[in-house]
């Protein structure tokens, strides 16, 4: 066995001989003895640029070639506006339902032991794991007039499949895991002592929940809501089967992009895409801000 002393000089020697690459020299804010910064960052930037940034910039470049009236005509025609209303409205409703029931599910999963809890916990991620096309046809079969759920709703005069309500159902399914998975770790780490303290000071259970627990969960809950909303905005596969896709009524914005593409109206498709992208990026910034808020809350 080599003695550490024999090996030490090689390591102790600061590595001035080894040339640092341009990325290291330009970007590193703290020197490190570890190698491979230039190579790994180079690969990352190359892949990111080629696979993500260059193609995305093509969308913006394409709309830049359009005149302003042409862009407005393509991105804000009555049919497109109706699709935005449906997409944003149904996404908002679905994300709200997900926030409420997601909180309930998380509370039950974290606080109440019951048989089969581990399996239920694992099943929460089903909407992430199940391909959207499968979810789409399954929900359609379920909510069609002769489906397991649809036939009972039909008795009550409610039609879900092939209506905007179907869009809402599909988006609720798709967004289900987000709230649970963002709130769960925070609720798990919430110290019980705080609740005990509030109870000792005379608060009843409802007061403790509203004044102590809910404020602590708020950042995570809002983040989950925003994530579910963002996912719902762009969702396509699970919606198109159940929506009926009637122009002005049950046609979502992503479907309109596909329709325009099939008509070789690339500019029109891209104009809608840019509007959706800008909405998505705004949400991404909001989510980042929410997470920063959550971390500050945690640190405090």
């Amino acid at each position: 066995m080599a003695s550490p002393a024999a090996l030490a000089p090689a390591g102790v020697r600061r590595a001035p001989a080894r040339a640092r690459g341009p990325l290291s020299r330009a970007l590193l804010t703290r020197t490190s003895v570890l190698p491979g910064f230039d190579l790994s960052l180079g690969i990352t930037l190359f892949a990111l640029g080629l696979i993500v940034l260059l193609p995305l910039s093509a969308a913006f470049a394409k709309t830049a070639t359009m005149s302003w009236p042409a862009f407005v005509g393509a991105a804000f025609s009555p049919r497109v506006l109706a699709s935005y209303r449906l997409t944003f409205g149904a996404s908002l409703a679905a994300a709200s339902v997900n926030a409420a029931f997601g909180l309930l599910v998380t509370w039950v999963l974290v606080r109440y032991p019951f048989p089969g809890r581990r399996i239920v916990d694992a099943l929460i991620d089903l909407p992430f794991a199940l391909p959207t096309a499968v979810a789409g046809i399954a929900l359609t079969a379920l909510y069609a007039d002769n489906g397991w759920v649809g036939r009972w709703l039909a008795l009550a005069g409610i039609q879900v499949a092939y209506t905007p309500l179907g869009v809402f159902v599909a988006l609720t399914f798709i967004g289900l895991p987000f709230v649970v998975r963002t709130v769960q770790p925070v609720l798990q780490d919430l110290p019980r002592e705080v609740e005990e303290a509030a109870a000792t000071l005379g608060a009843n259970r409802a007061q403790v929940f509203m004044r102590v627990i809910l404020p602590a969960l708020a950042p995570a809950l809002l983040t989950g809501f925003a994530l579910a909303f963002a996912r719902a905005l762009g969702e396509y596969g699970s919606v198109i089967f159940i929506a009926g896709n009637l122009p002005m009524v049950s046609e979502i914005a992503p479907l309109l992009i596909v329709t325009k593409l099939e008509q070789y109206d690339y500019a029109g498709a891209t104009a809608i895409a840019v509007v959706l992208l800008l909405a998505a990026f705004t949400l991404l910034l909001a989510i980042n801000a929410l997470q920063a808020w959550a971390r500050r809350r945690e640190a405090a």
Binding site: L34, V108, L130, A141
Partner: protein, 306 residues
């Protein structure tokens, strides 16, 4: 004389009937929104009997779709592992300017609608696209062909591996790698002998999620595929065609394969999660770092936000 206050435990816990009601409501919601859609896939698939089911799966077009799905995932997943490892090494082991921006950019594909992911590749490689004329002159086809499907799949799965690896590698710090370096290990040796064994469960976790998405992707692939039966159809696209042709039983039969894949994914994910929870402390500094590992998003991303 005041009445003795009830014991503390009863005041920080809901009464039994409240608990039972909440559990019931949560399970009813999950049953309606998770279990029923899952169950209906298998019920519809077997509606017309096992013969129809097996015939739909063994059909040449279905097998061709399965092959293309495996091919796309077979390329996208290893590629994302390589990129994810590179991204995690640079982002988790070093401090550099623009780190937060880079982290957000890696996550970007998650906020892009799958349909738009397909569209942008059509804009690049389609006949009217930037590289369209060049590709045509060289008799190459990307869009409405297999390369486009693979590219779109790589795009939508881009963040999966990296976002699992980065927090884990960050939480583990750099002491072990630095020790290996000081003892004379080369970069590749450090990666193979120190870093990879430490992050193997996080890596597996990312691969499982990445693979599920790669095999199930529909929107992006739908836009860049020409929907040519037996040639550019993946399993999800094959399901759509069968469904639109009113071959419901066949569509659900193929869908049941993907539903099984989803169940296997969930089971594997749960197993790996347990391993991650039980992962032994990695360094001497582990106890103090473990708390930061708890917040998986410990990575500081405030710069872009504020």
């Amino acid at each position: 004389m005041t009445a003795p206050s009830p014991p503390l435990a009863s005041r920080t816990q809901e009464p039994a009937w409240v608990r039972r009601t909440l559990i019931g409501a949560a399970l009813a919601f999950l049953g309606a929104f998770l279990l029923l859609p899952l169950a209906v896939v298998f019920a519809e698939a077997l509606k017309k009997g096992l013969d129809v089911y097996l015939a739909a799966i063994a059909e040449p077009d279905a097998l061709a779709a399965l092959r293309l799905t495996l091919l796309a995932a077979g390329i996208a997943v290893p590629l994302n592992v390589a990129i994810g490892l590179a991204a995690a090494w640079s982002l988790a082991k070093f401090r550099f300017r623009g780190q937060n921006v880079l982290l957000t950019l890696i996550d970007l594909p998650f906020s892009v609608s799958p349909v738009i992911a397909g569209l942008i590749y059509v804009l690049l490689f389609g006949l009217q696209g930037w590289f369209g004329p060049w590709l045509k002159a060289h008799d190459l086809q990307v869009v409405f062909a297999v390369p486009g499907i693979v590219l779109a799949t790589v795009f939508v799965t881009f963040p999966f591996v990296a976002r699992e690896l980065i927090p884990t590698m960050q939480a583990q710090g750099t002491e072990q790698e630095e020790a290996a370096r000081v003892l004379g290990a080369s970069g590749w040796q450090i990666l193979r002998r120190v870093t990879l064994p430490n992050v193997r469960w996080a890596l597996l976790y990312g691969v499982i999620l990445c693979n599920a998405r790669a095999m199930g992707e529909f929107g992006a692939v739908s836009v860049v595929s020409g929907h040519v039966r037996g040639v550019t159809n993946t399993l999800p696209l094959h399901i759509e065609i069968l469904y639109n042709e009113y071959q419901s039983a066949a569509a659900f039969a193929v869908a049941s394969l993907l539903a099984l894949l989803a169940l296997v994914t969930l089971a594997a994910k749960a197993l790996v999660e347990r391993r991650l929870e039980r992962a032994p402390p990695v360094t001497d500094a582990a106890p103090e770092r473990a708390s930061s590992a708890g917040a998986a998003v410990a990575f500081d991303r405030t710069a872009l936000a504020s």
